[in-house]
Symmetry: C2
Subunit: 210 residues, 2 copies
Amino acid sequence: MKIQLLTYPDMTLLDMVGPLQVWSLWPGAEVELVWKSTDPVPTDCGLPVVPTRSFADASETTDILFTGGGLEGTTRAMADPAVIEFMQSRGETAQWVTSVCTGALILGSAGLLQGYRATTHWMALDALSNFGAEPIKERWVIDRNRATGGGVTAGIDFGLALMAEVAGEDIAKAVQLGLEYAPQPPFDCGTPEKASPEVVAAVGKLFEGA
Amino acid sequence: MKIQLLTYPDMTLLDMVGPLQVWSLWPGAEVELVWKSTDPVPTDCGLPVVPTRSFADASETTDILFTGGGLEGTTRAMADPAVIEFMQSRGETAQWVTSVCTGALILGSAGLLQGYRATTHWMALDALSNFGAEPIKERWVIDRNRATGGGVTAGIDFGLALMAEVAGEDIAKAVQLGLEYAPQPPFDCGTPEKASPEVVAAVGKLFEGA
């Protein structure tokens, strides 16, 4: 199982690490963390990470192609011809083309969501229409060989769901137990429908300051 | 809010990135990722990360001291005098001494859980007694200024709960919504009590191969 994850500056680290932690337990997984070079890149939470392959050295084909999201870093990646070219070239032949959070906007910019049902972070959901995708308000969406997850923490659910789809429920269940994934969120406010208007308003300010 | 996170080789990356992603949105957060040097360290899921401070350059005091867990990497850290010395020196004055997953065994080795209620990954829970701690089977445990989370994914719940305790519920709720934390695990098997005996047995094999 060959897995390529786009590893770009200022990405939201948890978008990637959720599915990566799940998929790293995939028997026979070969993980490539891909960027322009293998110099460290900053992430949005202060921990720099080190890509393991450059675009030039990445395998020419992959079973899973993945990108997470972020704020300004994602906007820059969407407008970067080198990123778009890489995503298009691998996306054309990948068995699965996938994203978490606003990573879907990068897939969209590369033309990879045209005509597909897809999801993303709740704040960005409407933007999917700009790329010819049909926005779906679900935790994750699988449409043919496109698999997209919602915002940030959705990557864990998405990662396990895709693993179950591809490798079967037995291994996905073992990974879920291994990662002790029996979540107990301290509050019931993880979607804008469930949160109070005050909490929804506070999120905008939070991301301005980030 | 000064936060120091032990960033050691072969740690389980999601143990750290769960709370780190939450706490990076803490207004005024100063995050230090601390290890012996600032050379990149490998993690258990194939993504190397870069510590931002050496033990020598880390702030002498911190508000939150944190360590995540792992497999062999954690065992090595528990037996490493430089790690123990660092954890003891910061743990003595930290406002909060914290861990996720088998990070609790590192706190224990540094003598920081003696007489405290604490939790860790379900596979390691009994081992807490070796360090004079009282093992508690909960998603997270706060006992005086010790805060410990269960296995891997528990770090998100733990991170939000500690933030609510220290900074108040308003900010923690905004972060929870910002990270779209409304989990939908694909299976109901995240604890050994809920999983089938076959799934429990499969986890042992999974970690042998990891």
